[in-house]
Symmetry: C2
Subunit: 316 residues, 2 copies
């Protein structure tokens, strides 16, 4: 029996890792989510991945592994390394070489936001676009840039670090050590910063006390916003204003057709994007404004990462 | 006798227009500068260009015109239009069609900063670079972006408007109508704004009174800086700080190997770039800093524009 080939797509995140097998360039035929356990050595994650993959091929003897694509925080397409990922204790990992040893097939890597952008281009809402920017909104803010139909890597593979684009000099201290980065305002942790600032000004506000915790509950904020809570509205208005400033900077340089939003916090959708669009248009030169669309991703949460990672191999 | 083909490169500027003929892909065999006269209809400029070109071919009967490349303010590669150029009263001009009627050969256009970037890539300091950004410093600030060896145009041909990237929200009013654009701080007119602000704070300062005029004399500022004038130093320090903030924004998105500076005000060179580099590095995430070079253009003033415009045809 001739075996059919399949590609493994892996999306490594700060908390969870999802992986799946992609056939016929359009379909995830199996996918699973496992905890990343970023405080343990990466071999722990790779051991668990390896046994999950082995089990899959035991159950699917008609398939064989053709290659592996990986999206990971600080994954570098050129060096094949995961380089000092934030929130993971791994330091610098030569993931290509590690995976080659274990699986003996072609392996490619890029960062998680680039993988999401590849997913949107090959399987998602950006299929017919050549110039667009995917923004991943989660704990942090990442971005993947397509220009003239190609993903931009930059000189050293680190293009697209939009989360660390300064939007306010001398502004908030960011996890990266600099001040005023977009991510320090627009991300789950950025919104947490905003709530803390609001709480400093209004320490007895019950809604702010309720919503401020180790992790911010986006669903709770969304519900409060929808029921007309003015504080929730102010939080999203402030976040949207800052996001729009970052979008204006990127749009002025790159003139994309659309920004596409993906990731946990993008569920807030128009609640934030409406303010972001106003703020972006205010900060664009006249010829550009109203020409750039802000769109939610059409891909199911988790799938864009797998599909995008796999497309590193499938569309090589 | 078989004629040799030559390409006409035209660099239209706010004040002057330079044009020249490029042979063998490396040589400008004739060039001339004529006033643009931007307050007159564009036909005035094109009439003078046409008679200059006719005269050249009369004197060089062994050559024939193979094509025309144009760099112009707000020149759009996709539409073939010059679209509402600032400081020129032309509105929207279909320059490709105008030139076709007059010359009957292939014509291509891009904006002046993109032409300078093409000049650096094919004939200048960026010959061996794939990821770099050329910044033209003159009355305004323009930029042309190469990524992975290709010039970026964006969805609508307006990528690279770095001069209008907001670096300070609610900051200085820019000629474009927005506030806080990089150009309103870093350009001849931006430096004039800075001198006016300094003069408001210190209205009797003789150096500031001397240097503040309808046009700023860059040479006078350079000389004062070199002789240790503290006000000149402050002006360049402030300008460099703002430039570095803009460079940090662009570098975070695009991760280029180098920024290359071209145009009248780039003669200030290290006097401004030293401060710009410090400010850029302060605003970059750690992995990037010290990796990006700031370089003066190696091409003679005026030549990069002609060569870059011609390369639209020669390297098509």
């Amino acid at each position: 029996m001739k075996k059919r080939s399949t590609v493994l797509g892996i999306d490594i995140g700060g908390t969870n890792t999802v992986y799946g097998f992609v056939n016929n360039e359009t379909e995830v035929c199996f996918s699973e989510q496992i905890p990343t356990h970023g405080s343990l050595p990466i071999s722990d994650l790779l051991d668990r991945l390896q046994s999950g993959v082995a089990k899959f091929f035991d159950q699917n003897p008609h398939l064989e592994l053709d290659g592996i694509g990986i999206g990971a925080p600080n994954g570098n397409y050129y060096t094949g390394m995961i380089q000092n990922p934030p929130n993971l204790s791994w330091g610098n990992v030569n993931i290509i070489s590690e995976m080659n040893k274990r699986f003996g097939c072609k392996v490619k890597i890029t960062n998680d936001a680039n993988a999401a952008a590849l997913g949107e281009k090959h399987y998602g809402i950006a299929k017919n676009m050549n110039d667009f920017i995917v923004i991943t909104l989660g704990t942090g803010l990442g971005s993947g840039i397509f220009s003239s139909g190609r993903l931009l890597y930059g000189h050293d593979g680190f293009a697209g670090e939009m989360g660390h684009m300064p939007i306010k000099y001398g502004g908030r201290l960011c996890n990266c050590g600099n001040r005023g980065c977009l991510e320090s305002y627009v991300s789950a942790s950025g919104i947490r910063n905003t709530i803390r600032e609001f709480l400093n000004q209004d320490p007895k506000n019950e809604f702010l006390i309720d919503v401020y915790g180790e992790k911010i509950d986006g669903g709770m904020l969304d519900d409060a916003f929808d029921s007309g809570n003015q504080i929730a509205r102010k939080i999203y208005e402030y976040t949207g204003e800052k996001l729009g400033q970052g979008l204006a900077q990127a749009a002025t340089l790159l003139s994309p057709e659309a920004f596409i939003f993906y990731g946990g916090f993008s569920n807030a959708g128009d609640r934030i994007l409406k303010f972001a669009k106003e703020s972006m248009n205010q900060n664009l030169i006249n010829d550009h404004s109203e020409r750039i669309r802000l769109l939610p991703s059409g891909l199911p949460q988790g799938k864009a990462g797998i599909l995008g990672a796999a497309s590193l191999i499938l569309f090589d």
